[in-house]
Amino acid sequence: MNALGPLWLSVQLAFVTMLILVAAGTPIAWWLSRTRSRWKPLAQAIVAMPIVLPPTVLGFYLLILLGPDGAIGSWWVRLTGDALTFSFTGLVVASCIYSLPFAVQPLQNAFEALPDPYLERAWTLGATKLDAFFSIAVPLSVRGFVSGAVLSFAHTLGEFGVVLMVGGNIPGETRVVSIAIYDHVETLNYAAAHRLSLLLLAFAFVVLVGMFAFDRRWSAR
């Protein structure tokens, strides 16, 4: 169990991050898909930044921001008494930023593919905007939700650089599977590194095959 501890921690982290990102990413993606604001390219760039930035750069800024003296970190310390850095909560915050584009972009694509007349029709049939969103937009964007959830989960699972910068290597708290593999290699424990790596490899493959198979079945309808 001890050997699989980091894997379990990674799964927990990825799952919590996925839940938060689908919930928070939906309104962001909806706004991006509908807005004609001139600030849209700016917002899109901010959301997409984590794709381009080296994780160490992102991790470095997050370390400063989330640290006990940082803007968010100090506020967190006052609120809870604990530091955000080198804690599971800090990892969740960092992961949410790191994986944000992987949730937002599939959702945005799905929402943009939604023809306007569907929503206008729903409104003229008596649906409020929120009602129309949940009864029409959400069911017709299932593919976007599945892709967004799977990709943000899988991307968080594979996270390394950001975790190393803001989380360190505390067993049971921040020692996620990618860090554990790195550790095993450092200490020349290749057998343990193999076990975890193979598990991740198999997992990533199964998830992606599952997602694409779902996508195919859905588009065949």
Partner: protein
């Protein structure tokens, strides 16, 4: 009467609509593309122009492009508006029967024809129990056979419902068939607003000259002969190919001005069946070549599109007794 007041500006287009329409029956909104017909309708629905939110206005809207929710079967598509209706005045069974969709309830939109989709869309709009039904060229995206299939259903709505219907179209033939009231719209302005019969017969709008000129009149289908139906008009008979159901009640005939010619004397040998005594009421020059002549037949009016040269040759003047030769007639039903 219902008063509709809408003012909206989009770029250099300005819509200024202040119209009163009857609170029952069909009102046709006719105009060329770009005249603001659709914008007017979307303003009434609240889809444009601000004001109360769309869902708070109790309107049924039928879009030009047949649209249903693809993830819901027909039954749940028509229930969508019914479930959200504030008051339910429509029964699902009755509406489904009226539009002939009772057998489609388990089907998904992808498996329906364009005409079927539009019928289901109309049923969904009606089951919302709206105060007014707005139809934005519901036939425009359908081919001829589908149009002919759908028209009788829309026709029937007016007879069976007491809800006002605003019907936007650029096809005056459709409007003549479906509506009793006519609004002419040109570049965002209301050019005419009145009973269909009057507005058509006035023929004073540039919109209703040329190929759109024509009238609607009432005639009673009395009997059949040689595969034709005889319609009794106040001042003579009109023969129309096809056996239409005879009745005591007059039905609507549309006669396009381009299908009417004028003769001073009754032609002895002609293939034209319908030759009616008429009096010239007005001669209006449309352009360098064409005039529209208004002819009175008893208490009704037909328009004839003739050349200016013919007007000169026959020396047509108001008050002259002539013969109207009618080549083709469209029967409402």
């Amino acid at each position: 009467m219902i008063r509709l007041r809408h003012r909206v500006e989009k770029g250099d287009f300005r819509l200024d609509g202040d119209i009163e329409i009857p609170d029952t029956g069909g009102t046709g909104v006719f105009g060329e593309s770009g005249s603001g017909k659709t914008t007017l309708l979307r303003c009434i629905a609240g889809l444009e122009g601000g004001g109360a939110a769309v869902h708070e206005r109790n309107v049924g809207f039928v879009f030009q492009q047949p649209t249903l929710f693809p993830h819901l079967d027909v039954g749940r598509n028509i229930a969508y508006g019914a479930r959200r209706a504030k008051t339910r005045r429509m029964e699902t069974d009755r509406v489904a029967a009226m539009l002939g969709i009772g057998g489609l309830l388990d089907r998904y939109p992808q498996s329906l024809s364009g005409g079927e989709v539009q019928r289901v869309a109309i049923a969904a709009a009606l089951l919302r129990s709206p105060d007014i039904v707005l139809m934005d060229e519901p036939l425009a995206s359908l081919d001829r056979p589908r149009k002919d299939e759908l028209l009788p259903y829309i026709d029937r709505l007016h007879d069976e419902l007491s809800i006002p219907v605003v019907y936007v179209s650029h096809d005056i033939g459709e409007i003549s068939r479906l509506c009793d009231h006519l609004v002419l719209l040109s570049r965002g302005r209301v050019e005419a607003n009145g009973s269909l019969f009057e507005v058509l017969a006035r023929a004073d709008s540039p919109l209703l000259t040329g190929r759109n000129a024509g009238v609607v009149l009432w005639a009673t289908p009395v009997d059949h002969e040689d595969g034709l139906t005889r319609f009794d008009l106040a001042d003579g008979d009109i023969w129309v190919p096809g056996e239409f159901e005879t009745s005591r009640n007059p039905v609507r005939l549309r006669i396009a001005a381009s299908d009417v010619s004028i003769a001073r004397e009754r032609a002895a040998q002609t293939t034209i069946l319908n030759v009616l005594r008429a009096t010239v009421e007005d001669v209006r020059t449309v352009d360098a070549a064409i005039s529209i002549v208004r002819l009175r037949l008893g208490n009704q009016v037909v328009l004839a599109q003739v050349t200016n040269r013919s007007v000169r040759r026959l020396a047509l003047n108001p008050g002259d007794r002539v013969f109207a030769q009618v080549k083709s007639v469209t029967v409402r039903r």
